[in-house]
Amino acid sequence: MTAASPATLNSRTDARSGAQLVIDALEHEGVRRVFGYPGGAIMPVYDALTASSLKHILVRHEQAAALAADAWARVTGEPGVCLATSGPGATNLVTGLANAFMDCVPMVAITGQVASPLMGTDAFQEIDTFGITLPVVKHSWLVRDAADIPDIFAEAFRFARSGRPGPVLIDLPKDVTQANVTVPRALACRTAARAVFPLDAKALAAADRLIASARRPVLYFGGGIALGQAEGALRAFFQRSRIPAVATLKGLGALPTDWPGFLGMLGMHGTRAANTAVNDCDLLICVGARFDDRATGRLDSFAANARVIHIDGDAAEISKLRKADVALAGDVSAILSALSGETGEIEGWRRTCAENAERWAFRYDAPGSGVYAPALLKQISAAAGDSFIATCDVGQHQMWVAQHCRFSRPQAHLTSAGLGTMGYGLPAGIGAALAEPDATVVTISGDGSIMMNIQELATLRRYRIPLKIVLIDNAQLGMVRQWQELFYEENFSEVDLWDNPDFAELARAFGIEAFTLDRRADVPGAVERLLSTRGPVLCHVRIDPRENVWPLVPPGKSNSDMMEA
């Protein structure tokens, strides 16, 4: 249910090309930046772009356009926009669309298509973009008539933002963007208002009763907090109820991670305190999380003795994997605010959780004189303070960021949680740094991941984006190596990256300042240099290739079966 207020795009009666209507629509939606890469079928739009107020960021691979738009959206809360040509341009977007789809990021992807009469003839750079992207978009439109462009774009932006946000795609055949149409009426564009959901008073009362009678409650929250802009309500509920809390990978930052009572991330690489609390709880209050297998481990032993209150913005998530005793679908913020937060006697439980958190706190006194990545990451986030935004790649370094960095807001931790896209970090850093120029944006990448979108160093240089890159180089596909070591009897298969380039030299070749760090004693100076450099900078960190991420719940095991070093 979305209330919509009609607005007027313009009341032009002169002829406009389809491409001009695309630009008009983007401007009307308040779009400031688009990330893209030109080519034949999208050329009319690029032609119209030059006369517009839109700032275009020319990436060097369309996947990076989608991933940068994703990060832009996560930071601003507004749909990110990416643009690509037909055929290979469109197929290159697919990973980025899937990434946004899995992590519920609002995005509008615009692709060129061959001219309508050629569609279906295997024309040059013709591919069924609509069909290829069907499973990874919320919705898509193939525009058949230029006159439909204003309405379709308005709908696309509305739908990308609404409910469970996600990516939408608009495919534009070249004859449509080239056609001149007279749009005789005022173009009815609709600006979406926030959806209003009635609160379920009976379910709220039932939830209040369960909370009041629980002896060992745990608040388990995820990415739905940021999606529902519910940080304020979550923090208020946490403070008035004083219920110990754990977060999913995507939930990190919704509560400041250094608040007492917050036990850390749960799941496969979660803290022992978080997993133990969930294991032992008698009430699990799940807010904006979806019982993802990385978080739950073996589902049938996850919070096995707990009742469940499930609060989510998306009704389809409730009871999808774990039956809820009380289901509350709707506006997460409003629901949290409506809960009384009155608990029974839980002081003993709180103390137990706090003692566990202290007893099992991460240690940073690893032996040796090499760089210990967890300690380095902790120092960087502490030094950057509340302006810190981390954009991660995928692997061991991603988990170290989640475990050891301090986050004071959800926008501070951008990670490819659902799809686990190696190559996310650098384009996401670009998107985030453009979205929030005053933030200290740090991309933490691995030597495997960075190579997936290394060409974006050219984008950094071109726009002088002051991104800090911390490249954790273990000369391995570390996370895969760790699994091979632990679960495949050390049968190491295709994980050795002994032939990596010299990353500092490589960065310099792109015109980016760079330096190498390989001694623990040099860490303070390196952190200082990283954060004080005005332009883009890459810190190449060599670490011990045998480092593993601990603790670890083996795949398919219960979260109580945690392995330690």
């Binding site: 058949r144 409910g163 469970r164 009704a315 389809a316 999808k320």
Partner: protein, 86 residues
């Protein structure tokens, strides 16, 4: 056990493919279907059967309901499976 799901939706390019694709991707076999275009909304009735795994028909219905242009989703349970004679 099969379930018949009736979906009413606004006609649009790709709408039927989107519906069928969602059902298959979410882990259901499509045993049968019937498509009735009508003025206004169209109706697609699908007889679906869950593949092994933690699947709830309520979840599938909610996932269908959030698709663009879907106006209603309803369910008829325990549809007997029609076997071919030979």
């Amino acid at each position: 056990m099969t379930t018949q799901i009736d979906v009413d939706f606004l006609p649009a390019e790709g709408a039927v493919v989107r519906l069928i694709g969602l059902v298959e991707r979410r882990g259901y076999e499509l045993d049968a279907m019937n498509y009735v275009p009508a003025p206004g909304t169209h109706r697609l009735s699908m007889v679906v059967r869950p593949r092994p795994g933690p699947r709830r028909i309520e979840t599938l219905k909610a996932q269908i309901a959030r698709l663009y242009g879907v106006t209603s989703v309803s369910e008829m349970s325990a549809v007997p499976r029609l076997e071919a004679a030979s």
